[in-house]
Subunit: 401 residues, 2 copies
């Protein structure tokens, strides 16, 4: 049996733009900014890159289909550049493509880059005409006619019911998750939303889809992020503190459980499946003890709560206890969203997976400034695409050697 | 330095639908048909597959974005499935993704599948509103306002001029290419266009963009193709005659030569770059002697002529001599398009790269029936995306061990 790619590849440079409403920058501008920071950080030049993967979802209104926009924008002549897309996990897929290429021996130095301009798209999470076209035939037939907030809100009501949480109490627990992320985001110069909020603010915010309100929802932003990946044995030629890939797993749901109405609406099965495999690949026996910090896919506060359990950090139904004890706060046992998360960065689809890795990379190198987690060893990123009922999820583990 | 993936992976099963105007089949139907043939051919079941890559370009009007449509359609629960796209080389990218994953050690058995319904799209090679949206910002600015036929026709006129070919003579040489492909296609039950044509037919056909006429142009078809890839050392556990990947190279043009008006319009630089690297990876010193047969990207007859030279099979300006001597015909030294090529299969974008491999795979196994090439050892597939001025090109070499 294959054993995965543990310790076969390492990250030697990363770049990330400031995220936000970047009306004065094109998708190409953002790619160039993230790319330049990444190659400078790695101490290489553009010509050293042997292959590249770009993650982008709404290509039509961003950089366009194919590899050619990246190839042109980044001036990468005649190397292979590949466009990958997997809904909200598109950035993670770009990273995965580059890692596999290097681990396979096809090349020594590869680029993963992700970008999305959501503001230009007029994105509001609603299935308007453009989205319906994007989603294709199958989705028009089998997807319930609900929005992103509506679908995740159903997880919250079902979670409250299953674990006997009074809805007001449940909403207060979810509010703590947003308050924690906003605190971290307020310390991060690259975040979109940089202000502290209180539990009261969250509870008083307009409702989007009950029980989720405006401050339970991630922002809508533009941004780009990039990573330079090399064969592990070469990594120390470039820098003393490369970050090694310990596991990289993706799982996609084929929807069978939904079709047979077996879905419990209190977990995301692909997250759980990807996590199990990632821990096995990285030889992690007890994630609650061994993971130092996480960046997870908090498109909504309930998504983060459920992810604590799907990742086997909190026992089923017990994540609320960890929220209340401060387990996931910056000074806690496993800081979650030290960057501020999607809550404060928004979710430029193609960029997010790599943006999460950027935070973990800087944390492991001790360069996270006011957000620095104490002595981290292993970081986890988790990125999901799709709806609770039908998702693709990636779990990546990285660490110092 | 990395040495590529030569002999690290093998193909143990392939499937391919009949190509054509398949109004009664959806993209999902075609995927299922190609997939079922592939797993049956490999002697495995769907549950044996550990990861998958899907190639599709016009996702909006086909299966939709992300991996979820494939995951659902093929009933592949909880394995990673990834959508890759690189214009007309999207099928080759799906194959490359699966090969890298297996070669990296991430998995043992992977699926590559490509599909496209071009007929449903109303595709005519014209930059209508839908295409312009697909192509994105950069293309709207830098691409000349020309069609596919128009762009490739410019290669023909420039080629005739550069190599002192009287245009009538040039058009006759191009006609021989189409006549040869139609002969092969007439022998292939999976081809879309299955009739012999004559040089006269080609010369009398309506002009699309002078000198290219209707019979210099590939058809517009629907279709799907699939491949099962395993680690090379496992391949003989599945079948006695697996086909090994000897080289797999892609090159993308960043457009710098065009911007500085240095483009000669008589070659496609990424094809040449990918070919050089592929021959090096496969340790091929003299491609004209060592390649047994080829499936190349004949979107137009001139593309095939120029590709003979870009692949270093014919010397520059001399491909016409090889066309006239029958070098590329079924009984010739290097049969080109034994399947009938894009000319007879059309070019369902996401499927083509894998459909080409299907022909080579069957030929190497001695199963090409009336089209069988005598005792082939090494086959080449070549797939380009984009325009002559700005292209991504893949060159893949496969062979018996």
């Amino acid at each position: 049996m294959s054993k995965g790619i543990k310790d076969k590849v390492a990250i030697i440079g990363m770049g990330c733009t400031k995220f936000g409403e970047l009306w004065d920058k094109s998708a190409e501008d953002l790619m160039v900014d993230a790319f330049k920071e990444a190659i400078k950080d790695a101490g290489i030049e553009a010509k050293d890159i042997q292959a590249a993967w770009q993650g982008n979802h709404y290509t039509e209104v961003n950089i366009g289909h194919s590899a050619l926009p990246s190839s042109t924008t980044l001036k990468l002549p005649f190397i292979p550049v590949t466009h990958v897309e997997n809904f909200c996990a598109s950035g993670s897929e770009a990273f995965r493509g580059a890692c596999y290429a290097v681990a396979s021996g096809a090349c020594d130095i590869a680029l993963a880059i992700g970008v999305e301009k959501l503001k230009d798209l007029g994105y509001a999470g609603l299935p308007d005409a453009r989205h319906v076209m994007t989603l294709g035939t199958l989705y028009r037939i089998i997807w319930p006619n609900h929005t992103g907030p509506g679908a995740f809100a159903m997880m919250a009501t079902r979670y409250f019911d299953r674990y006997r949480l009074d809805p007001r109490e449940g909403k207060r627990i979810l509010a703590h998750i947003s308050v924690k992320s906003h605190h971290n985001g307020s310390l991060n110069p690259k975040a979109h939303l940089r202000r502290e909020i209180t539990v009261e603010d969250v509870l008083k915010a307009p409702i989007v889809a009950w029980p989720l309100g405006l401050l339970d929802s991630c922002g809508v932003s533009d941004g780009a992020a990039a990573a330079i990946i090399v064969r592990a044995e070469l990594a120390k030629n470039f820098r003393p503190d490369p970050i090694y890939v310990k596991a990289l797993q993706i799982a996609a749901d084929s929807g069978e459980s939904l079709m047979y109405s077996q879905y419990d609406y209190t977990h995301v099965e692909p997250t759980y499946r990807a996590a199990i495999k990632a821990y096995e690949e990285a030889s992690i026996k007890n994630p609650r003890e061994e993971i130092s910090m996480m960046e997870v896919h908090d498109c909504f506060s309930i998504t983060e709560l459920i992810t604590y359990e799907d990742l086997l950090i909190s026992p089923r139904g017990k994540a609320r206890e960890d929220v209340e004890s401060g387990f996931f706060e910056l000074g806690g046992k496993i800081p979650c969203q030290p960057s501020g998360g999607l809550k404060c960065f928004g979710h430029p689809i193609g960029a997010t997976g790599i943006r999460m890795l950027y935070e973990i990379y800087k944390q492991l190198q001790g360069k996270a400034e006011a957000r620095q987690v104490e002595d981290p060893k292993i970081g986890l990123t988790h990125n999901i695409g799709g709806f609770p009922t039908r998702a693709v999820a990636s779990v990546t583990l990285v660490g110092l050697q």
